[in-house]
């Protein structure tokens, strides 16, 4: 865990000396602020439910941009050789990298904290769905970041990692789109696999253990695969 935190800390620092973190954060806040204002003015409701629903779409694209550098850059510059010859387990490297991206994402979410404050100042929001909504966004974000970490392990090219990442996150989000044509049991499986089918309960203020477990298992599976991909580098 000490190693994981060391790697995560170094990575977070690297985020803030490169323009990526600032550009992505600024773009995300700009888009979400615009959506917040638009939705609030149209609906006149003190709720973040619609905003959070829309943010998921942006997240599908933002998460791979946050993770594209993580392992691809280490492989391109050769610094991966340094990590893999240090007394550090491969999973500690992967976990540390993912934690860094999660930390940055949590920071970005924190910066959107003034939306509920505005609602509270001028209206009477229901705090339950706001909090579970944030929790859901964090879980979904963590899952998307884990998928992005996986695609970043696959290549030494950041752009390729980002494109693969967007492909994977959008596919995982939309995979239930055809379920109504498939018929059971395939439709059930597709619906269960889809990232989107587990998300919207959070916005209604419902925390279902099944959904939480689903996201956690996708995170573990993606990080496990990323570790295996990293290990195969040793055999090439």
């Amino acid at each position: 865990m000490r190693n994981t935190l060391a790697i995560a800390g170094r990575e977070l620092h690297a985020y803030f000396v490169s323009p990526i973190a600032y550009v992505v954060t600024a773009a995300f806040l700009l888009l979400s602020g615009y959506l917040f204002a638009a939705i609030l003015l149209i609906s006149r409701e003190a709720t973040l439910r619609y905003l959070f629903g829309n943010l998921t779409t942006i997240l599908l694209f933002v998460a791979p941009l946050l993770t594209m550098r993580l392992l691809a850059e280490e492989q391109r510059s050769g610094t991966i050789e340094l990590l893999l010859t240090s007394p550090v387990q491969d999973w500690e490297v992967v976990l540390g990298k993912w934690l860094a991206s999660l930390g940055l994402f949590a920071g970005i979410l924190l910066l959107t904290g003034y939306y509920p404050l505005i609602l509270w100042r001028y209206g009477n929001p229901d705090w339950g769905p706001v909090l579970t909504g944030y929790g859901g966004l964090l879980l979904l974000g963590g899952t998307l970041l884990a998928l992005g970490t996986l695609t970043s392990a696959l290549t030494r090219n950041q752009i390729v990692a980002a494109v693969l990442g967007v492909g994977l996150t959008v596919l995982a989000w939309l995979i239930d789109a055809l379920s109504q044509f498939a018929g059971p049991p395939v439709s059930g499986v597709l619906t269960y696999l889809s990232l989107s089918s587990h998300f919207f309960d959070f916005l209604r203020g419902i925390v279902d253990t099944k959904d939480v477990l689903y996201y956690l298992s996708v995170i573990v599976a993606a990080l496990f695969l990323a570790t295996r991909v990293l290990e195969t580098r040793r055999w090439r």
């Binding site: 060391a6 240090s86 007394p87 055999w235 090439r236």
Partner: protein
């Protein structure tokens, strides 16, 4: 300290190294000498725990590099050929990070000591991306030292440096070698001779020769090649040079030059100079030619198997061809 037995590594069907056997004693500096693609980096990557061998075993401080990889990695300081640095970090924070993931407890002290040893203390707060090549190389060396390892593995530590920096790095390695076991690779013969206690010449994945610098030098300078240039070349020059005592061969080259081979242990330069002057051909140049690594490999692979420098194992591989 390091024991390598029948070490073999295949990349697909291609054998990068085949049946390597060697030992390095505690406190010894071993030089890996060989052309690019000889298998030096592959061997070092296996020893550092970066990749497993296809066959054979390697042990560092009695730990197997594959089965006890983490124990080996704790004891090794490794500097890869392309020095892996995080360009956005300062020298100090980079070294502190490397110390941390290698479990160093007294980080500040160890980082300071490593910077001191590599003479980079004055650049401690500089961003690595802004350092010159020579300084980066030294940061790479400091990185390998920061956890005070028993074994140092340095892949081409002087590549890309200017002559002054090369001398500094060599001095540094010799200093470090007083207490540590060091393996370093190079494709420069003189570097191996100056820095290492023992040299292992490796070509196409196999050990071609092994011995101390002195043993190898004696063996390789069995014949001396001289470069002779005269103002008026002609067939009579070749004939006259061939008659000089100790000369074993004369090869005409372009522009009135001749490559003259002398028997080992004889310096024919005085006699050759006298011959050319007496013949009235006008001596323009006379110098001994330093043997290039290519010449050495040609020599080594063309030679008979039974020579004192060759060890048992190498004889077998040579016979096996």
């Amino acid at each position: 300290m390091i024991e390598v037995e029948n070490l073999t590594k295949y990349y697909g069907d291609l054998a990068a190294i085949r049946d390597l056997n060697f030992r390095v004693e505690r406190g010894e500096i071993l030089g890996f000498l060989g052309p690019n693609g000889a298998g030096k980096t592959t061997t070092m990557r296996i020893l550092s725990g970066y990749m497993p061998p296809s066959a054979g075993t390697a042990r560092v401080a009695d730990f197997d590099v594959f089965d006890d990889s983490l124990e080996v990695r704790r004891r090794i300081g490794y500097m890869p050929e392309t020095v892996p640095l995080y360009p956005e970090m300062s020298v100090r924070s980079y070294l502190a990070f490397m110390a941390r993931i290698r479990g160093v407890t007294n980080r500040k002290g160890q980082v300071d000591a490593a910077m001191e040893a590599c003479h980079i203390t004055d650049k401690a707060d500089t961003i690595i991306g802004k350092l010159s090549k020579g300084y980066r190389q030294r940061v790479g060396l400091a990185q390998a030292l920061v956890h005070d390892p028993e074994v140092l593995i340095l892949d081409e530590p002087t590549i890309g440096l200017d002559p002054k920096q090369i001398i500094e790095v060599r001095e540094l390695i010799k200093e470090l070698g007083h207490e540590r076991t060091i393996i370093l690779s190079t494709h420069i013969l003189s570097e191996a001779q100056q820095t290492c206690d023992r040299v292992l010449i490796i070509n196409e994945g196999e050990i071609v020769a092994e011995g101390t610098s002195q043993q190898l030098t004696d063996r390789l300078t069995r014949g001396t090649l001289l470069h002779v240039q005269v103002a008026q070349p002609g067939p009579e020059v070749i004939a006259a040079l061939s008659r000089v005592p100790g000369v074993t061969g004369v090869e005409p080259e372009d522009g009135g030059s001749y490559g003259v081979t002398c028997a080992q242990g004889q310096d024919c330069r005085t006699a050759i100079a006298a011959t050319v002057v007496n013949g009235g051909w006008g001596l323009l140049e006379l110098r001994a030619i330093e043997m290039s690594l290519e010449d050495i490999f040609l020599k080594l692979t063309a030679e008979d198997t039974a020579t004192p420098v060759l060890d048992e194992q190498t004889e077998q591989t040579v016979e096996g061809r």
